[in-house]
């Protein structure tokens, strides 16, 4: 699946999703880790921009600020002293900090270049099994209820608007449009898993009917 197709998944195509799609790592193995890291930042970071430690402080109102500071310093010292512990804690928190890597499982790699070459060497068989979820925020523009009507959409939004609307739809909805509006008498398109071709077929059918 292309990056462009992945970016379309969100429908509303929020900026954040686009960024993920654009700088998506080549390594399939690297993607879940990146996703996890982003989610962690969103989850842990408080809305007012204070640090996670600040949040911890708010949650322990009965502890004096001095005691809390001492405890955090002790934890920080222990984490610096013991990298394995630091990795386990980071993993438990949901991800590594920027620039850090998981411990290498076989051999070692020290930077992006190595990571990329590892991705290049990865067996392609795993790529087809990789699933790239993305944030779903809803479909825009308003498509009404049920199977979208491309003729009504063209009427309401114009041809460019129709194309935009179709971009936000996935295979199931595209197939349903083609089926419901009799755009594929032969039934061949029904078995096609190529959203771009289905979109084009719908646009052609709408233009033809004009």
């Amino acid at each position: 699946m292309s990056q462009r197709t992945r970016a379309r998944t969100t429908g509303a195509a929020p900026k954040r999703t686009k960024t993920v799609a654009n700088d998506e790592p080549a390594s399939p193995a690297a993607l879940p880790r990146r996703g996890k890291r982003k989610a962690t930042a969103d989850t842990i970071a408080p809305a007012n921009g204070t640090s996670a430690a600040g949040v911890a402080g708010q949650g322990t109102a009965m502890v004096s600020p001095d005691a809390l500071a001492r405890a955090l310093r002790a934890v920080a010292a222990e984490l610096e002293r013991d990298p394995a512990l630091a990795r386990r804690v980071a993993s438990a928190l949901g991800g590594m900090t920027e620039g850090e890597q998981d411990p290498p499982s076989a051999g070692s790699h020290t930077g992006d270049a190595d990571a990329h070459s590892a991705a290049d060497d990865a067996p392609t068989a795993t790529i087809g099994r990789t699933f790239h979820p993305s944030i779903v925020t809803g479909v825009t523009p308003d498509l009404g209820s049920g199977v979208p009507d491309p003729f009504a959409l063209r009427e309401r939004l114009g041809l460019d608007g129709l194309r935009d609307a179709l971009e936000s739809l996935r295979l199931g909805s595209l197939r349903a449009i083609i089926r419901e509006h009799g755009m594929d008498p032969s039934g061949r398109l029904n078995k096609l898993n190529d959203a771009a071709k289905l979109r084009e077929r719908i646009v052609q059918a709408v233009m033809k009917r004009k």
Binding site: T9, F131, G138, S145, L169, R175
Partner: protein, 264 residues
């Protein structure tokens, strides 16, 4: 019309996946199927239409501001219709608490509709939404994942349904089948299957639904796995499941009429 409730108070056991793909399977057997999404997460709605928390939905019907005919959608699957759910259902327990005959609101709303099967997807709880679903159904299908946690608390499920049968006076409500989901060729899966076989005997549905990435991919493409990957292991399994459910729970073409609902 035969109404089937897909229920299990555990989350993540494959209720929505089963509701969506079983509906698509029955539709491929030339039945007209209506899916009712009673879960506030509205995942069945998303999987069948690509819409996220649309309104109006079944919520508006339950609180009495809409007629059910106005919220029936055609879905991406041929012969499958949907009454969508939306996030407001998560407040339904509170909002319906003071309404009279609150457990019967779905059954009353469905009265007169003409489909062969109604498949009701439920939230992972036993609140008023699941009670409405059970009151509207005569048969219950219980998906159980073949994983380590699945056996914890499973013995309570029968008791819970028995309680509801008495509370709501539903003598004909019964578990028509237990569906094993997330099957893998592992010791855990096989042992769990063995335990379920002993416990449920002939109520255990023979078809096992494998753990398969195509199920997730199909949801993402807003269609059933029978449309997305019909020859995949999960696609074939759901088609077999539809055949088995058809044998166990006969379809009726009569309009829906839950007699008990009329008493309220």
């Amino acid at each position: 019309m035969t109404a089937i409730c897909i229920a299990n108070n555990k989350g993540g056991v494959g209720k929505t996946t089963t509701a969506v793909n079983l509906a698509a399977g029955l539709a491929r057997l030339n039945y007209r199927v209506l899916v009712v999404d009673m879960d506030g997460q509205a995942n069945a709605t998303y999987a069948l239409t690509g819409r996220v928390h649309p309104a109006p939905s079944i919520y508006d019907v339950l609180v009495g501001t809409r007629k059910i005919e106005t919220v029936i959608w055609q879905t991406n699957e041929e012969n499958v219709w949907l009454i969508p759910g939306d996030g407001r259902l998560q407040n339904a327990d509170v909002e319906l608490a003071s309404k009279p005959a609150r457990e019967w609101r779905l059954a009353r709303a469905l009265t007169g509709l003409e489909y062969h099967y109604i498949i009701i997807d439920t939230p992972p709880s036993l609140g008023v939404l699941t009670q409405n679903a059970l009151a509207a159904a005569t048969k219950v299908l219980v998906p159980i994942s073949l994983t380590e946690f699945s056996l914890i608390g499973i013995d309570k499920l029968d008791a819970i349904i028995e309680d509801l049968r008495e509370q709501l006076d539903l003598p004909d409500l019964e578990i028509a089948g237990v569906i094993a989901t997330f099957y893998e060729d592992t010791t855990t899966s096989r042992e769990t299957w063995g335990i379920l076989e002993k416990k449920y005997e002939d109520r255990l549905i023979e078809t096992r639904i494998p753990k398969n990435l195509d199920l997730e991919k199909a949801h993402r493409e807003h269609e059933s796995v029978l449309s997305f990957a019909p020859s995949s292991t999960s696609g074939q399994a759901y088609m077999e499941l539809a055949q088995e459910v058809k044998r166990r729970v006969a379809a009726h073409s009569r309009p829906y009429n839950r007699r008990s609902a009329q008493a309220y």
